[in-house]
């Protein structure tokens, strides 16, 4: 899932400093699961903003709503009437949600309350880690199910580099060396010979470098 984190309340407040009434929109998708922009977080953000503004003698009126998903036009449409009389919309979704709102309500000032960080999952409750580099051409079958594109600090495909020591990456003792993990896994599977195969460079045109990407399934299109 997409992992996001809330921006400091002050930063969000600064984006809407000249508004009297705002709509805060949470999202019941990924950001609810990673506790950044669900119903509760949206209300906490609203309350924090209200307190801040009241202290400044410039009260802020808030409306809160949590969309099933902000990355689907049909759920964004459901905001309809709520949007009319607000001066701005604060989105507590990932960057996708913010853009969907901005596109749908193109005469409204739409601002992000979250920083979209990465795609990953939780290890324990309250701790999330990046797992996939979104490269558009999965190679996990060659690397023991561990993604070197994003989990190796240098995206090395024929690792490990010379900075790997005691299982950790050269950038920090808190970061596991992805290639040590790959080595251990391949070793346990008895497939170390696979690591001797030369891995060619990635075709980055399948990634961001090919420009914004699209995925199409004609068979499911209506009309």
């Amino acid at each position: 899932m997409i992992i996001a984190q809330q921006k400091p309340v002050k930063d969000v407040a600064a984006m809407i400093s000249n508004c009297k009434k705002v709509l805060l929109v949470g999202c019941a998708g990924c950001v609810t699961v990673c506790l950044a922009g669900g119903e509760k977080e949206t209300e906490v953000m609203a309350s924090s903003l209200r307190i801040m503004r009241k202290m400044e003698d410039n009260p802020l009126e808030t409306v809160t709503y949590t969309a099933t998903r902000q990355c689907d036009p049909e759920y964004v449409d459901m905001l309809g009437n709520m949007v009319q009389d607000v001066d701005a919309i604060v989105s507590l979704a990932c960057g996708v949600g913010v853009q969907y709102l901005a596109e749908r309500f193109n005469d409204k000032w739409v601002v992000p309350a979250l920083d979209t960080k990465f795609i990953g999952g939780s290890t324990v409750h309250g701790n999330w880690e990046e797992k996939c580099g979104l490269c558009g051409d999965c190679i996990l079958h060659r690397t023991g199910g561990i993604c070197p594109i994003i989990r190796c600090s240098k995206s090395i495909l024929n690792g490990p580099c010379g900075g790997s020591q005691y299982g950790k990456c050269e950038i920090s003792k808190d970061v596991d060396c992805a290639w040590q993990l790959i080595y251990d896994r391949m070793s346990a599977l008895g497939k170390l010979d696979k690591l001797m195969e030369f891995q060619p460079p990635k075709d980055w045109s399948k990634s961001r470098d090919g420009g914004p990407r699209k995925a199409v399934r004609e068979d499911v299109m209506i009309d």
Partner: protein, 119 residues
């Protein structure tokens, strides 16, 4: 046992301190409370094992938010307290009321009189 404690304290009962929600805490301040403290059971005495630990963490998170937005996290605190410690309760009320006296009224509530709340 009859103990004296400040009359301007309002008690909100909850089944377990672990049910406290960030939103409720923020709401009390929006509604004008000058200070709030959450009393959870003694460590190790939670009927639900970890409710009081969770409450404490949440209170600290809300304190952080209050500091961040300039309201001041000092107006909120967490104490461990058992039902048998009436004396200690009176003490805590005193600590909090003294603190709130010092801090002055809730800044959102400029003209209002001093008021305290407890949950």
């Amino acid at each position: 046992m009859r103990l004296q404690y400040a009359p301007n304290v309002r008690i909100v009962e909850m089944p377990c301190s672990g049910t406290i929600d960030h939103r409720v805490l923020l709401q009390t301040f929006e509604d004008g409370a000058d200070g709030v403290f959450v009393a959870g059971c003694m460590e190790g005495d939670c009927h639900f094992l970890k409710g009081n630990f969770r409450a404490k963490k949440r209170v600290h998170q809300v304190k952080k938010i209050l500091d961040e937005i300039g309201f001041g996290g000092d107006r909120l605190d967490f104490f461990n307290l058992s039902a048998a410690q009436g004396q200690r309760f009176a003490e805590i009320v005193k600590i909090m009321t003294d603190r709130v006296m010092e801090l002055g009224p809730n800044p959102l509530n400029k003209s209002a009189k001093k008021e305290g709340g407890a949950a």
